[in-house]
Amino acid sequence: MESSDAALVSRVLHGEVNAYGALVSRYRDKYARYAVHMLGNREDAEEALQDAFTRAYRSLARCEDPERFGAWLFRILVNRCRTSGARRVRRGQTFVHDETALLNASQEHPAEQTMWREEIERALGELSADQREAFLLKYVEELGYDEMAEITGVGVSALKMRVMRACDRLRVLLKEVHSA
């Protein structure tokens, strides 16, 4: 039977460091998706994710509700992605789509599907970081607005506005591609 998050956290806090590996495996892929879409490339995404896991380990005793370790870790990751995104802007790097993911996708899906995915990634990159974050949290990660507010520290009204604008912008961007 699979151990609960709380049980694994407890084991780690009592010095069983290897139990942390089970938490890494449990959340690695799930949260990689958010990081890849948010940062637009696999290298930055893996770096942010690795950073989130190590920061979470270092501060594990501060996880108030170990049963919700995943939600706590996700909050750290969202902040790591913000930092990474801001750093990238300072470096002047443009948003690039995830070549590796596209390569993988092309092996699983028809070429048309791959094109569609590529256009979505490109359109996501056209959104502001705030809009992209709100859109991904709401629709891809399927969080409620209250959860989003807790994670981002942004008010619910502002989040709703960001999501609405992100949706409008995506529709326009993808329609332009489709009509071209």
């Binding site: 780690v12 806090l13 009592h14 010095g15 460091v17 290897n18 942390y20 590996g21 890494v24 495996s25 690695r28 892929d29 990689a32 998706r33 890849v36 879409h37 893996e46 994710l49 690795q50 896991f53 190590t54 920061r55 380990y57 270092r58 501060s59 594990l60 005793a61 501060r62 996880c63 108030e64 706590w72 909050r75 750290i76 902040n79 790591r80 993911a101 993988n104 996708a105 048309e112 094109m115 569609w116 995915r117 256009e119 979505i120 996501l124 991904l136 629709y139 891809v140 807790e150 520290g153 949706c167 995506l170 529709r171 993808l174 329609k175 489709h178």
Partner: protein
């Protein structure tokens, strides 16, 4: 490419919700860093505690002054804590005090003891509701908090609040200056 006019949003989300897989070597890379942190923490913590024992036994005047401070806190009956520093070589002993008469346990956790990970929390002693513990803290700026009853996160009410960080609980700022000796 899907037709527009259908539910575009649904199609976008469907595509973005496809799983993203990370190579298993990722786990190994994370765990190498985690194990290194674990080993460093345990060795530093053991060394720091040996240093504290020596420092405190050499300073009876400091202990007496500290006891007087505790009495004063009890008398006014306020929720109060105060990290105080004394001169020392190496890490500086800091006294953490929290008045919490209802508490069943109080520990101090901070970046100087890796937030209590692996049983490194500093367990405070109870003196009629005044909880105190001493710990060697390296020079620098630190974050810390009190962990009450093993789960309630309490910032030090008499210290500056630390700037918000990723973890969602309040913490206090502590500045430890370098050795005075």
């Amino acid at each position: 490419m899907p037709e527009f006019g259908r539910n575009t949003l649904e199609l976008i989300v469907q595509e973005l919700q496809r799983p993203v897989r990370v190579d298993e070597s990722f786990d190994r890379r994370v765990m190498v860093r985690v194990r290194r942190m674990h080993a460093e923490r345990r060795s530093h913590f053991a060394a720091d505690w040996l240093g504290t024992a020596v420092n405190l036994t050499r300073r009876p005047a400091y202990a007496a002054a500290l006891a007087a401070g505790v009495v004063a806190v009890v008398t006014v009956g306020m929720l109060r804590s105060r990290p105080e520093t004394v001169a020392s070589a190496g890490p500086i002993p800091v006294q953490f005090v929290l008045v919490a008469p209802e508490a069943r346990s109080v520990a101090v956790v901070g970046d100087f003891n890796n937030w209590g990970l692996g049983d490194t929390a500093l367990v405070a002693e109870n003196h009629n509701g005044v909880w105190s513990v001493s710990a060697p803290v390296p020079a620098g700026v630190h974050r810390y908090a009190f962990l009450v009853n093993g789960k309630q996160w309490v910032a030090d009410p008499t210290a500056p609040r630390a700037a918000s960080d990723d973890f969602g609980q309040p913490s206090s700022a502590l500045v430890v200056e370098g050795s005075l000796e």
